[in-house]
Symmetry: C2
Subunit: 333 residues, 2 copies
Amino acid sequence: MRATVKDVARLAGVSPKTVSNVMNGIVPVSGPTRFKVEQAMAELDYVPNLSARGLRNGRSGVIALALPDLATPYSAEIAHSVVEVAHEQGWSVQIEETGSDPAREYELMSRARSNLIDGLILNPVVLDESAVKVGVSLPPVVLLGEVSQQLADRVWVDSVAAARDMTLALGRTGRRRIAVLGAAEGRGSAAAVLRTRGYQAALRELGIPWDGSLIIPCEKWSPDTAARALSAYLDANPVPEAIFCFTDSMAIGALSVLWKRGLRVPDDVAVAGFDDIADAKYAVPSLTTVSFDKRRVASEALRLLTERMQDRDGPQRVIAVDYEVVERTSTSA
Amino acid sequence: MRATVKDVARLAGVSPKTVSNVMNGIVPVSGPTRFKVEQAMAELDYVPNLSARGLRNGRSGVIALALPDLATPYSAEIAHSVVEVAHEQGWSVQIEETGSDPAREYELMSRARSNLIDGLILNPVVLDESAVKVGVSLPPVVLLGEVSQQLADRVWVDSVAAARDMTLALGRTGRRRIAVLGAAEGRGSAAAVLRTRGYQAALRELGIPWDGSLIIPCEKWSPDTAARALSAYLDANPVPEAIFCFTDSMAIGALSVLWKRGLRVPDDVAVAGFDDIADAKYAVPSLTTVSFDKRRVASEALRLLTERMQDRDGPQRVIAVDYEVVERTSTSA
DNA sequence: GCCTCACATTACATCGATGTAATGTGTCCC
DNA sequence: GGGACACATTACATCGATGTAATGTGAGGC
């Protein structure tokens, strides 16, 4: 049987509350007593029961992180950063996958209200108006990424500006027939809409007329679907001078397709991505992309979240994380 | 204030226990009563407090998954599968990173004993003798991957056989100067030792004499370190006919280095990996690798874990997951 | 020697859900 | 009509840690 505070107290010859005081360190405990208690804890190999503590305190020390799909490198890197930063601050992280399913996002909200979780960092995909209902008593929530409505605290990278900068960078290398892969077709994700918007803005600045045939839609932002979409596109259209993929994962799929077709990157066509995942640097050829500090995203998200736990009714805040266009071989002139 | 069973009971005009009975469905509840209770729950937007339930039941419905580094594609895919399978069975997953640090593995064990977690799936790196102490009352644990000692239930892929098969496959394409990248130098990870052993076995079968200069050590199994290690190696040694990388991540680093040096894959040198991560198929050129079903790994691990929770003293079990050598462009003749 | 004051420690209640054992409410049968 | 029996429901205790308020213990001052 597991030892409890009671057992420790009995062995140390003190009351349970004193044991608790030793652990928490808020109420002062005299030296000798503390020593006795600590020895008893060690002897019994005492581990506090966090369910009981959570029940009593109303806090569990666990936050949830909800991502669309952990297997994608982008999500994985974000998860890595969040887990790392959270651990440094004494939090545990429970991971949930939403699979782009709004129902899961609802489910998570109620899970977060079940007191096993003190807060939620949510990277929504379809969300927008769906899950985060206004008026319902929400747990502390921080959103990651682009969301059209302002529903909760949020950490993001300015997709419009970044996509614009990337398109301008492609333009500077002299390429004019710049395609985008992953654009929003009808109601797409917020990120797709915004990145498309930045792309359009850049075209205007570059004096390049809008050409709808350079918009390559792609429903899922994975290498598989990107590869299929690009392949189908190339079957029916001339090769663009550049392809701006809305994520690095898609760019990796694109590079693979281009290579298989004997098209040389960057000589025949330039390729750019977004996110700067770890493998971008090791793509063949190394991938030009929009880079930002994922650890910073994680630490800002956690900061907003913990501050929100303190002050449930404070004003909503939005943190924009800096980005940078990193030009590598895949777009060299 | 959050509603509790008491509030629901009052509104429904029944006792708290009846509310509990409705939720759990073990004790029968008459139709009308059940209806009243359900309506009261809906009206109050009742969400059960899982800390309290966990305290009472001794189970939290949460398992922990500990991986060396979530950001690596391999870990990410495993995490994805575990989270997915666990969710299907009603479990939540708390993720921890060990960063190859045995201290973290200890910490996890005690965390798992703190009742916030019902069990632990651990992918150890250095572990071996370190963390899982015999004789200490352990929580239910399932180990993933290669471990030299038999300490707990385990799910693995037979690294010796797989490495042997891969090496034989490389030999069949006529290549004889087969290097390995990531081999164990001194006390390496269990996987490194076993894969090296399989490689050696294959060489003997192929009648290729052992050549120590073809062993390229690499302390961390990341693209970065692999790229650096291979680069340094190529500065000082002739180009091998094939490079068997002990993980796909390393292979991706290797492909990048080879491409930068103008060495053509597979014409000048073949490259093979291990794990069949999602990007292997989209590498340039597509990567030959050892493939296995990660979802199967996850479901077997979860099965062993839940069965272990039922029967803490049952015999230890080991599940070997099938693998397959998938030959892609990077090793074609 | 007595009273005060500070401080460490204790007894008890509490967090919310649920198992146990007892109570209540019917139905069925002789 | 009365007794037995099934079944739904209830009162109470419990899981383990901790806040509250009260108690105990000592030192220090007159």
